[in-house]
C-alpha cells in the first residue's frame, strides 16, 4: 500500500502515476494515502467522481441497480449479502407487482424518501480494513455514497463512524465540506436536480451499534439494542423510512463498478466471488497488515506470502479467518480460498476477511476466554441467552484457564453453545460468540482437557514466573469492566 506523498509537485506526480497504474487491479486502495490523503482537487485529478458523474448523468436509478446486481458485488460487512438484492427491496426500486387497488399500494407511485447509512462502526476485534479506506481516501466513500443514495432515492445519508476513529472523522468531515463546496453534495448536484445531504455521525464506543438495526436505534438517539426483523430496514428503518445500511468497503466498490463496468469487476476474480477484497492479518504473524487482493486468495498465500508467516519461531495453532466472531480453522484448511462459499464449506465464515492468527506458544483457552470476555462485555443485554450466556461462558472458561475446571464444565460449555445459537437470540452477536468457542472446543479439545487434568495451563506452566502477573492482571481487569 502506498503511504507517502512527498510534498513537492514532481514527486507527487510520480506518486499519482504509480497509483494510477494500479487503478484496474487495486481499485479500492490504489489512491490510498494515509499520511496525506487526496483533497478534492487531487481526487478529481486522479479520476475521482467519474463514477458518480456516470451514474447521475447516464443511468437511471434502476440502471445502476441492474449494473450493481450484475456485478455480483456481495456485502463486505460480514454476511456477504448481495448488494443489488439488498437494494432491490427498497420500495422505490420495487417492481409494482401489487394490483393498484391494493390498500398497500398507496405509495407505489410517489417514491418514498429513503435513507442510506454507511456502516463505519468497525469494532469487531481483529478488523481494521475500513479504517484504511476512511483515513486514506475519504472522497472515494463520499462518491460511493452519492451513487448508492441516488440508486435508492435517498436525499439524506449518514456515515455512522465508531467514536474512536478521530482521524477518520476529521478527514471525512473535511472531505464532506469540500464536496459541498464543489456541488457534489447539497441541492442540484452537478446540475442534475438530484439532492443529497450527507452527515457524519460519530458513535461513542459500543460494538453492537455495528448491527444494522441497533445502528438505526443509535442514530435515532435510542439505546442501541437491535430491532426485530422483519420489517427489514429496507422497508422500515431510520425514522420508519426505507433504509439501506452498507459497509464502508462494500460502498467503496461502487465508483469503480460504474467506471469500469460489471464485466471488469467479475474478471478481477474469475474463479471466486466477484471483485477484490481488503484482506488482513494480525496476531502472531511477522508482518501484520491489510492487502487488497482478488477475491479467493488462499489462506496460505495470505498468511505466508503477505503476512510473512508465523513470528518468534512459533508454529500455526489455529486462526480466525474473518474477525472475532468466526470459527477457528487450522493447518489443514490452509489451501482454502478466502471467499464466502469456500470458507463456509470449511466450517467458518469469511466475515470481514481479516485473519487473527494464533501460534502454538500461546494458550488457545486464554485466547477464547479473551474473545468471550469481549462478547460478554459488548452484549447489549436485550435477550437472555446472550446476556446470561456470554458471562456464564466467561466464568467457566476462566475456571478452566486457571486450572480449576472439570469435565462437566466442558459439557456445560457445549450446552451453552446450543442455547446461544442462531434462532435462539435476538441478533447475531451471541451466535458470533459461539463460533470461536465451539470450534475451539473441537480443534483444541486436547488443550482444554490438559488444563483440567494438569490443574494448570500447560503452556503457562512453562513460564511460571510470568504467570503470577498474568493472573493478577486478569483479576484486576475483571474489576475494571
Amino acid at each position: 500500500m502506498t503511504n507517502t506523498t512527498p510534498n513537492d509537485s514532481s514527486s507527487s506526480e510520480n506518486w499519482l502515476e504509480q497509483a494510477l497504474a494500479q487503478a484496474l487491479t487495486k481499485p479500492l486502495t490504489h489512491l490510498i494515502n494515509l499520511e496525506n490523503p487526496l483533497d478534492f482537487n487531487g481526487y478529481i485529478k486522479a479520476g475521482g467522481y467519474m463514477g458518480a458523474t456516470k451514474a447521475l448523468k447516464e443511468f437511471s436509478p434502476k440502471g445502476v441497480l441492474e449494473l450493481v446486481s450484475d456485478s455480483g458485488l456481495k456485502g463486505r460487512g460480514g454476511a456477504g449479502f448481495p448488494t443489488g438484492m439488498k437494494w432491490s427491496c427498497v420500495p422505490a426500486l420495487q417492481e409494482k407487482k401489487i394490483s393498484t387497488d391494493s390498500p398497500f399500494n398507496q405509495n407505489a407511485n410517489e417514491h418514498e424518501n429513503s435513507y442510506l447509512i454507511c456502516n463505519g462502526d468497525e469494532m469487531e476485534p481483529g478488523t481494521f480494513k475500513d479504517r484504511y479506506l476512511l483515513e486514506g481516501v475519504p472522497h472515494q466513500l463520499i462518491e460511493a455514497m452519492i451513487i448508492a443514495s441516488y440508486t435508492i432515492s435517498a436525499n439524506k445519508a449518514y456515515i455512522f463512524l465508531r467514536g474512536e476513529y478521530f482521524l477518520a472523522a476529521e478527514r471525512l468531515q473535511h472531505a464532506i465540506d469540500e464536496a459541498y463546496e464543489n456541488k457534489w453534495l447539497g441541492e442540484n448536484i452537478q446540475g442534475t436536480n438530484y439532492q443529497l445531504d450527507l452527515y457524519l455521525h460519530t458513535s461513542a464506543g459500543r460494538y453492537i451499534c455495528g448491527e444494522e438495526t441497533a445502528l438505526i436505534n443509535a442514530l435515532e438517539g435510542k439505546r442501541a439494542t437491535p430491532r426485530a426483523k422483519p420489517p427489514f430496514p429496507q422497508v422500515s428503518g431510520l425514522f420508519g423510512k426505507p433504509t439501506v445500511v452498507n459497509n464502508v468497503e462494500t460502498l467503496c466498490n461502487l465508483p469503480h463498478i460504474l467506471k469500469h463496468g460489471s464485466a471488469w469487476f467479475k474478471d478481477l476474480s474469475p474463479d471466486s466471488d466477484p471483485g477484490t477484497k481488503m484482506y488482513a492479518a494480525c496476531g502472531q504473524v511477522k508482518n501484520p497488515g491489510v492487502w487488497e487482493l482478488p477475491m479467493g486468495v488462499t489462506i496460505r498465500e495470505l498468511l505466508y506470502d503477505y503476512a510473512g508467516g508465523m513470528k518468534d519461531g512459533a508454529n500455526l495453532k489455529g486462526l480466525l479467518p474473518g474477525g472475532a466472531s468466526t470459527d477457528f480453522l487450522t493447518e489443514k484448511h490452509l489451501d482454502t480460498p478466502m471467499d464466502f462459499d469456500s470458507i463456509g464449506k470449511a466450517g467458518s465464515r469469511l466475515g470481514t476477511g481479516g485473519l487473527i492468527v494464533l501460534g502454538d506458544k500461546h494458550c488457545p483457552v486464554a485466547m477464547v476466554l479473551n474473545l468471550l470476555q469481549f462478547f460478554a462485555q459488548e452484549s447489549c443485554g436485550w435477550c437472555t441467552p446472550c446476556r446470561d450466556g456470554t458471562p456464564w461462558a466467561v466464568e467457566i472458561l476462566t475456571r478452566i484457564e486457571q486450572g480449576q475446571g472439570s469435565h462437566e464444565d466442558l459439557t456445560q460449555l457445549n450446552e451453552l453453545c446450543d442455547f446461544m445459537w442462531l434462532g435462539k437470540t435476538h441478533c447475531a452477536l451471541a451466535p458470533g460468540a459461539v463460533e470461536p468457542l465451539k470450534s475451539a472446543m473441537r480443534y483444541f479439545k486436547y488443550d482444554f482437557e490438559q488444563h483440567i487434568e494438569q490443574g494448570c495451563c500447560p503452556i503457562e506452566a512453562n513460564k511460571q514466573n510470568h504467570q503470577e502477573q498474568l493472573v493478577s492482571n486478569k483479576k484486576e481487569a475483571n474489576h475494571g469492566e
Binding site: 469494532m123 478488523t127 479504517r131 438517539g221 439505546r223 488482513a280 491489510v290 476462566t398 474489576h479
Partner: protein, 190 residues
C-alpha cells in the same frame, strides 16, 4: 471481566444522591456554546431525541464528564426523560458518568493486543501510575480504562488517549508517552 460481581465502570452510574429533575434548569445550566452546538446537531436530525449522544459528547467535551446535573439538563434540553438519556449515556464506553482525570487512557484489551503483549503493557502502566482499571491517579492526571479493539490490530498493542492513538507499544514507549503527557499538564500547554 466477570460481569456478575464487582462490576465497576465509569459509564455506569454509581448510586448517588438522587436529584429531582426540577432542581436543574437547563437554560441556566448549559453554556451558550454548549446550547448552540446542541442546536446545530438538532437542525441536522429529524427529532430532538436523536441527538442524545451528540449532546452528551458536546457537554462532556466542555466539562470533562457527565454529572447527574449535566444529564438532567441535557435531557430537558432535548425534551426527553433523564431516565431515557441515562439509558443512552450508560450504554457507551466513551461517555464518562464519573469524574475522570485530565487524560483518560483507553488501553485495548481485545484479541490481537492480547496475543502481542497486552499483559505486559498493562502491568507497566499500572506500576508506573500506581492505579488499576477504573481508577484515577491522585494528582488527577490519568484515568485508566480498557477499550475494545481500537482498529490498530496490525500495530498492536494499542491505546488511545485524548483522541490520539498510540500503537506498537513497548514497555519503554508507553512510559515515555505517559511522561510526555504528564509534562504537558505540568506546563499547562495542552
Amino acid at each position: 471481566m466477570n460481569n456478575n460481581n464487582n462490576d465497576f465502570s465509569l459509564n455506569q452510574r454509581i448510586p448517588s444522591v438522587m436529584i429531582a429533575d426540577e432542581e436543574v434548569d437547563f437554560n441556566q445550566y448549559l453554556s451558550s456554546a454548549e446550547m448552540s452546538a446542541i442546536e446545530h446537531e438538532v437542525s441536522i436530525m429529524e427529532t430532538r431525541e436523536s441527538v442524545g449522544i451528540e449532546a452528551l459528547k458536546i457537554v462532556q467535551q466542555h466539562r470533562g464528564w457527565i454529572s447527574d446535573d449535566s444529564l438532567i439538563a441535557i435531557a430537558q434540553c432535548l425534551n426527553i426523560s433523564s431516565a431515557q438519556l441515562e439509558g443512552v449515556a450508560t450504554f457507551y464506553n466513551l461517555i464518562y458518568r464519573q469524574k475522570v482525570g485530565h487524560y483518560v487512557i483507553h488501553l485495548c484489551d481485545s484479541i490481537s493486543c492480547h496475543l502481542t503483549g497486552y499483559d505486559e503493557i498493562l502491568n507497566v502502566i499500572k506500576q508506573h501510575l500506581n492505579i488499576v482499571y477504573g481508577q484515577t491517579t491522585s494528582d488527577g492526571q490519568f484515568t485508566l480504562l480498557s477499550n475494545v479493539c481500537l482498529g490498530s490490530c496490525d500495530k498492536s498493542p494499542a491505546m488511545m488517549i485524548g483522541g490520539k492513538h498510540y500503537h506498537s507499544l513497548t514497555s519503554d514507549s508507553v512510559v515515555a508517552i505517559l511522561n510526555g503527557l504528564s509534562q504537558n499538564v505540568g506546563e499547562g500547554n495542552d
